[in-house]
Amino acid sequence: MQVEYISAFNVVLGVLGRFWPVWIALAIVMGASFVYKKKLGLYGQLFDSGVGIVGVGICLFWLFTAIFASTVAPFDPLAQVPIMKDALPGGIEPASKLIYYFGGDKLARDVFSRMVFGSQIVLIIAPAATGFALMVGVTLGLPAGYYGGRIDTVLSFLANLVLAFPVILLFYLLVTPGIMDTPIPYAMAGLFFLFPIIFFSVLFWTRYKNRPDRLYILLGLTLVLGGWVYVGLVFDADPLKIVHIDPNQLNIFVAVVFASSPGVFRIVRGLTMDIKTRDYVAAAQTRGESPWYIMLWEILPNARGPLIVDACLRIGYTTILLGTLGYFGLGLAPESPDWGTAIKDASRLLRSFIHPALPPTIALMSFVLGLNLLADSLREQSMKD
């Protein structure tokens, strides 16, 4: 049986059509942000420059693609239709009359659907890992910069130790199937996931020490929610069976957090050392505020500008790292639709077929580009103030 094809123009039209929920959501959010941009602070200022609009647009596009993935993608990312093996873009699948917009790969799966579902993996792991790295870096960087001395020496030495590891070597050592048999990933997860709980507890404690009514509610919420997620992620023992993570995803997650938190640590430490010489910190010290109150409520809010920019860049960098992991076949399941794995599979067959390689590469590139543009325009805006 012969596969029928639609024309290139129809492929473009069809792909644009498949993204309809994304376009609607994008139009609503962008339109609303544009109308109310005066009231939206830093986020609203992004809409003053072309670079900012493009950056926000690309990031939101992939965000909505990840959210509506099951509507956008016509096929299951793992489903194989033998007749569509290595089909060229625009092939019509005979049974359902649905179209393989970007063709089929060597295992006869729909390249387009895989690209769409791949965005889910990236958009869950990359921002979450960056968030955890931020928590770890902030919680350790603030005291290192504020106190200096021995605590700074020890923490900086440890951070430099991790930074001296070439990333790829680190991943080859930390993300292996064998290491899942040892307690190392779980111990590291147990350590890293503790930091957000510590961070928020100290944050609320220092602020509402003298207002027990507020304090107990906030602390209780932190401990219950944090403890629930902690138990679910580290021990995979969530009593409600909602929080769950695959062991190999946990391994990747931990390795990525481990690789990127020293970078955050260095930035936070540098910013803290700069800000602690300001007058308002001296004023707080004279008032007799506790060191942790000064760090979390005086220094941290004033360091937010560079940290937000860094977080944007770091999400992009984490996306690249995830792609690297996929490219070397580390951690993720071999049939997983993430972009790095797809690039690896396709790049081995470039001599015969090029169409499976292009969608994931362009997807990854555009998402990282969007984040970089966003970071760049955030930096410009914060420089104006």
Partner: protein
């Protein structure tokens, strides 16, 4: 200055010691040793045979004893042949001594590669020189281009050239090697057919045809970053008073840029270029695997994939050394280039 360098060298030695212990620990985790034993013995060996292989080849000695032997502060013991009871070589292909000797990293012995069935030194150093050639080509391409882009963009801040070049550099930092490699291969090898999509033949002889794609791929990711740093530094210099003075005394714009601005604007990019080496190292691994070039990165992946303990340790030692030495050079060089900063 001298005491600063000495102190840094001391920290460096300590860092390397810590890192090698960590790597040594991670490679010698039990699942990894089992994997090694399985790959080194025949198929379908029982658990006891694997265990006896590991014990017979000295992998079951105390962790710190083995680390000390690898480092060269404890003597390496020859293994005892189970059948004859005489001392035997651990691996016949490596010429291990038959009497206890101090033979570790400190004595210049990198150990024995189980994957390539030869000494680590004879595998690692040719690979390093192959990668050195690749790195040299990349730096020769990357540095002039990125500095030129940075200077052109930073010369007139906010101009159309500046905006175009800035967006181009952002785009290049958003393109990791495995993405640009695929795109370049599609364009230049599959469509146009100008270049070879594999650099496997480059170990016999480097030609424009087989070496351009790896170099291009590796250079493009760094170019954007260095160019952006150069631009930032150039923009800062161009707002200085002495530039305005030079302009006001009637010098042409071009000569102000070349004679007054450039020299000061190029100090910061020097540091950035030196600190780019650790990133290049990751890029080298990707590019060498992608284009099948038999260099350091390729060796590292082979060693890691087959759990080749001594080879992987050698690779980590080399890469960590490169990272630390470039950091040191960048610090010392910065103080040397910028007379305003003198290390205390």
């Amino acid at each position: 200055m001298l005491s600063f360098v000495l102190r840094r060298l001391g920290t460096m030695a300590l860092t390397m010691l810590c890192l090698t212990i960590i790597v040594f620990f991670l490679i010698n985790l039990d699942p990894n040793l089992k994997k090694l034993a399985i790959s080194q013995t025949e198929m379908h060996t029982s658990a006891e045979q694997l265990e006896s292989w590991l014990a017979g080849h000295g992998y079951r000695q105390n962790f710190f004893v083995r680390y000390g032997q690898w480092l060269g502060v404890l003597p390496k013991q020859p293994v005892t042949d189970a059948a004859t009871g005489k001392p035997a070589q651990r691996f016949s292909f490596c010429n291990d001594p038959l009497v206890p000797t101090f033979s570790g990293i400190l004595q210049g012995d990198f150990g024995c590669s189980t994957k390539f069935k030869t000494t680590v030194a004879s595998k690692l150093f040719p690979a390093l020189s192959a990668t050195g050639i690749l790195m040299l080509c990349v730096l020769l391409v990357m540095i002039p281009i990125s500095l030129l882009i940075g200077i052109l963009a930073g010369m007139r801040e906010g101009s159309r050239t500046d905006r175009t070049l800035s967006v181009a550099s952002i785009a290049s930092t958003a393109t990791p090697e495995y993405v640009s490699g695929v795109i370049f291969t599609v364009i230049f090898a599959s469509w146009l057919g100008w270049l070879n999509g594999s650099a496997a033949s480059a170990s016999q002889g480097i030609t424009f045809y087989n070496f351009t794609l790896p170099v291009m791929t590796l250079a493009i990711y760094g170019i954007g970053y260095i160019a952006r740093m150069t631009r930032a530094s150039m923009v800062e210099v161009m707002t200085q008073q002495y530039i305005r003075t030079a302009r006001l005394k009637g010098l042409s714009f071009g000569s102000v840029v070349v004679k007054h601005a450039l020299r000061n604007a190029l100090i910061a990019p020097f540091t950035v270029i030196m600190l780019q080496f650790p990133w290049l190292l990751t890029g080298v691994v990707i590019v060498e695997v992608m284009f099948r070039y038999q260099g350091f990165g390729y060796t590292l992946v082979e060693a890691a994939g087959n759990n080749d303990i001594d080879l992987l340790l050698g690779c980590s030692l080399v890469s960590v050394f490169i990272v630390l030495i470039t950091q040191l050079i960048s610090d010392v060089g910065y103080a040397f280039l910028n007379p305003r900063i003198r290390v205390q």
